[in-house]
Assembly symmetry: D2
Homo-oligomer: 417 residues x 4
Amino acid sequence: MNIVELRRDLHANPEVGFTEFRTATRVVEELRRLGYKVLFGDEVMRPSSRRGVPSVEQLTVAYERAKAEGANEEILAAMEGGLTGVVATLEGGGAGPTVAFRFDMDALPIVESHAADHLPQAEGFRSRHEGSMHACGHDGHTAIGLAFAETMTHVNFNGTLKLIFQPAEEGGRGAVSMVDKGVVDDVDKLFCFHLGLDLPIGSMSGGATDFLASTKLEVRFKGVPAHAAAAPEKGKNALLGAATALLNIHALPRFSTGATRVNVGILEGGSAPNIVPDSAKMVLECRAASYEDNQDLERRVRSILEHSAEMHGLDCDIAVIGEAATAACDRELVELAMREAKEIPFFTEQLESHPLGASEDATFLMRRVQEQEGQATYMIIGTTIAAPHHNEKFDIDERILPMAVQLLERIARQTLR
Amino acid sequence: MNIVELRRDLHANPEVGFTEFRTATRVVEELRRLGYKVLFGDEVMRPSSRRGVPSVEQLTVAYERAKAEGANEEILAAMEGGLTGVVATLEGGGAGPTVAFRFDMDALPIVESHAADHLPQAEGFRSRHEGSMHACGHDGHTAIGLAFAETMTHVNFNGTLKLIFQPAEEGGRGAVSMVDKGVVDDVDKLFCFHLGLDLPIGSMSGGATDFLASTKLEVRFKGVPAHAAAAPEKGKNALLGAATALLNIHALPRFSTGATRVNVGILEGGSAPNIVPDSAKMVLECRAASYEDNQDLERRVRSILEHSAEMHGLDCDIAVIGEAATAACDRELVELAMREAKEIPFFTEQLESHPLGASEDATFLMRRVQEQEGQATYMIIGTTIAAPHHNEKFDIDERILPMAVQLLERIARQTLR
Amino acid sequence: MNIVELRRDLHANPEVGFTEFRTATRVVEELRRLGYKVLFGDEVMRPSSRRGVPSVEQLTVAYERAKAEGANEEILAAMEGGLTGVVATLEGGGAGPTVAFRFDMDALPIVESHAADHLPQAEGFRSRHEGSMHACGHDGHTAIGLAFAETMTHVNFNGTLKLIFQPAEEGGRGAVSMVDKGVVDDVDKLFCFHLGLDLPIGSMSGGATDFLASTKLEVRFKGVPAHAAAAPEKGKNALLGAATALLNIHALPRFSTGATRVNVGILEGGSAPNIVPDSAKMVLECRAASYEDNQDLERRVRSILEHSAEMHGLDCDIAVIGEAATAACDRELVELAMREAKEIPFFTEQLESHPLGASEDATFLMRRVQEQEGQATYMIIGTTIAAPHHNEKFDIDERILPMAVQLLERIARQTLR
Amino acid sequence: MNIVELRRDLHANPEVGFTEFRTATRVVEELRRLGYKVLFGDEVMRPSSRRGVPSVEQLTVAYERAKAEGANEEILAAMEGGLTGVVATLEGGGAGPTVAFRFDMDALPIVESHAADHLPQAEGFRSRHEGSMHACGHDGHTAIGLAFAETMTHVNFNGTLKLIFQPAEEGGRGAVSMVDKGVVDDVDKLFCFHLGLDLPIGSMSGGATDFLASTKLEVRFKGVPAHAAAAPEKGKNALLGAATALLNIHALPRFSTGATRVNVGILEGGSAPNIVPDSAKMVLECRAASYEDNQDLERRVRSILEHSAEMHGLDCDIAVIGEAATAACDRELVELAMREAKEIPFFTEQLESHPLGASEDATFLMRRVQEQEGQATYMIIGTTIAAPHHNEKFDIDERILPMAVQLLERIARQTLR
């Protein structure tokens, strides 16, 4: 398996959250070929726990495309409707702990750059799916996962190796459905990681801090239309309710206990200038430095939404479309990761911790493991990037790919003894 | 009884709503002297149905002042706390209907003009109670009521003559307490009237239209204080709730069914720049051309108040401090009044109807009479005024006083036969 | 010319405002054939005075469709971009006044009913352009205009007959561009009319009252995007500005001088939950019973829009996309119309006036004529309708078509003498 | 001079900001007696640079009370109107630097506890001025200042010793007027300090961090009154403007650069339920962890205030009534202070820095000194407190008073050499 070729193939075929049909079927096939026991579809996800599932149309288009491009139809069938998670296990020679590694697979809804100085363009592996792009490095994560899987088939170990290929990390939409299915309930040690962020190639951090807990909500206000001139009092005005909610959500107090954020990112409502608007859609998010503050903030946001609706006689339907928690990395795993990295000359710098300053739903996997007395960490594996994450010219330094595999292998050898 | 002297005495001693202690005790004494059966205090008012009762301090100051100025203490005692309504009845020689006349007695919280060209100043009967003023003509109404009472003692009639001296008409605060006590439950015909408005002396209208139904509310928002820098999230911000309510109340839809009004007239809250404000008081009113629209509007206002409070975790206490309804004048009484006015040469113009365009709580008395198959009207008896109603230089042309008495006498003779 | 066939052809080929390419080319061809002098395109419209012009895409689709269906390409070329107005003149035998008649041609963006009991469906002349429909009777207006044009070629008269075929009446978008081009500057008498409204067949009104002045605005707020978690203070939030404007526009005071209306009918802004929204579009309208009050209201709305934008550092672009004025009908023309209708036995009822209670941009044509000492009226020619105006099952009683032509002919004979 | 008696006398006679007439005259007298050159009144303050000056009535009451209690009338006269600052200098034996120490003198508008377990109550030095209280330890600061002044008269030193007794620290109202007068323009080293905060007795910190920059504003909205039913459109509604400002100020974005705070603490407006409110007063504050962010925040707040007013046709008058900056302590002075404290056995703990987490207008004095290449620090001198600062039962452990004097003396000896 050529890891760079693999990564470039994934890069050229980006699939956004819950539509990773081509990616996930390929992951299943490779893992099966390597001798892993592989579960996928509703064996590893609780469908109702997914957040922000795309529309049936979007799911169908992506599904049919994957089928048309030759994806294995038997595997594909089990993933229909967006059940694109995969979990593989390999049993070691003797009894031992269960050690899991998590890889996320989804791309972003971004149009990739056509610029000549953008390497994927120059070298011919730019996105073939216009409007989707691997602009966060998950193509690298998945490639590392498969190469690591292959490597481990040559290693003698005890216990159980578990590889978790997660869909829909972006927006915090996929992890909870795997947690709720029990995927990490038997895990003793969990290693998550991300390439890049702002660590350069050669640098790594054994742990991460400053996860922002967050919740993304989609809200539907439903009122009653009326002719705005002939009978305005007959209407129930959805935009009056939405505007009131918008102002009051932003006016929620700052917290003395840590940073918080609120943002109503989208508001769309009404149909014509002379009709009292009877519906409105709002998409918003709140974040906080602590999980508890974010829960408090979400509770306040919901109260404002509901009462803003009720004061104008509106119905208000609130759906969670994304979520992330905070998590603390276990010192023991952090130090183990640093120690193993030190053994690889390529890694010239080992940090104990690096601030993430963003949201990650791996935190839900980590929390579940820790709740059951297991340990978890979130490593940052530096790679010099061509442009910031989520930018149309984002690209990684591919030299990190085999090095990351080597690091994971060393960690696995140490923990599966 | 010299009606002009009487009116000037009342003018010089104005008492605002529910503090008409001197006025009402004098009314009782005169009526008793004339041989009427006189009820007052809680015999003619349900205390809990009063709206916008002044503070205990204000009531006490006015009460003590009346006592100090020699008001009859036995009568006064029954009026303590603001029970200043009076109802007198005189039985005729034979069986017959009950015909009632209503006179309102209260003054306004206005500083009367000291200008030399203001007649009460020039002739020495300007307000002795600085800050209170008869700027709406109720001094004239009360004087007419007493002179009419005297006149009727010389008239032979059948049935029952009922004279209702009502407190606190201004703001719509006194009538409901008399209605709820049943004061007009036995009335067959009810005549209400107002001097002036925009009819000149010599003109009269047998009926009125365009009463505006209205409700005045006093609202208390109660939250939780907190240091605005040290722990803003601990506070529950009463002013955020109040400001949200204020904007949304004004943003309520116009009605296609007729004119409506809303006004948040007063908002006061908070204590210091660095404290999250934990309380706020709001005083507001709504009005509508129809009683039903005003009830609909009030319901919407209350919903906004309650949900604006709840969205910020506040308690919200809403009290009605004033109310008026609409009413329709019965054609038969309108025509009777016009006919009788025509018999008095002084009245050179008799209108069938004149728009009031304001609120009047006599409407509650009228509605109750009409609900019980009785009839009612609201006459406007023109008098040329020196300045608009509620102006510091308001004054009436006193020549109307004996003429109004004559008109009432003629009406009474016609209806009590 | 069979007027019913003509109307049904127009009904089957509805074109919304400024896309009346097929309709207007046909109008030009017919009028030329009849010997009228015909002007169109920028000869009769000032392009920049049009309101709410459709997008280039919409204009192009409609234009190409008309061309594909065989519309005269030479005429069509002059109308490109939406210049679909037509004005025809016919000179009489001797000197005399200029008398104009106005016909509006546009359809509505409504999906016409497929119900079997909907006559156009049953008889095969339902809309061929899915999503557009003649649901206000302008197909009838145009058919009447052409049949009337033909009739007048057989009549001896003095002076000048002027026929104005106006685009885009719906939303108040087309008349001003014809006024600004001077189309009615030489008109002595102007007759406008509408079929139906709530007068039944056989009834007509010589004039109309209760036009609502109105203005429709499209507003673009432009701010600065920013990551809502990483740097919220870098953003300039377009939705905060828009929500503030929305609440305050609805909170504008009621007017004591007459009915007013405001409605923010559409608000759309933002792009993603984690991006500070940098743009928003708002579509709104205000209306008033008087032209002056509507101007006052529009001025207040604009002030709120501009300051709501500026307080959040936003740019705010306001475009008028529709407008209507009020107008008063000249008594002389009203009476003339009633008199002539009386001569036609079909018209069993002639009213002096009927309330419109809606907005009409013919008022701009009427006002211009009256400013120049001419006279104008707006007649309502009753026809029993199958469902309300703007409803998917709207249809007229076609018997009115030849009768309306007869009425216009009589009016023309009387005025062009 | 018995420092405990002195502090208790000041404690019993608390005077709020700009009314420290008794306190400041006493300070002048003592310093004169000790041989200092003493300036006060407008010699050391620019009157127009004061923030939040009390009303003339409040100033007069306090002034007359001080006079009645025997304050030196000649000194008092120079302080009339609230010019209660005092600056004293003592020249050393030879040339040398100018070293200044700052003491604040004002009390708080708090009712002091009557509880038996409150030491000032138990020992008879509770506030004699009901409603004012030394609840922040400035009585101790002033006592330390005078005792230190006496001590220094026995010390041989070079250069100039400068003692600054500042009025109105609370709310950030007094320092700027002394800075603007040039009081610290010649200062080479400035030492400020505060007792208590959350350091216990025996502990001290040579410097402080986490000053919150803040601005307090008083805003007057001025509109036009109108009868809310008869002519609502004639009014310009001050409360609509104020409520809009209130919501939008609270809705200002969080900053990614550090903590911020906003609070509209007081809003009062309107006069009666049936009058469109024509005036409103708002008192608010904003704060930020950096001076620049606070300036940015204040600029945004002002923009919202102005545009909220203008959108409703209101005038808006904004006055700064309090202000504080941030400041950084100079390492050299911090270390010197720690070193000297270490020499006094009483101080068992010397910290380099302690977070203030509050606002202090000494920062303006510090910034001015540093701008002119001088050095400044803000020490925290621990003392165990009976209740939190600004609490009705606040009290200090008086054992710190002579120890603090000793520390200042050591610092002065080191710096004035």
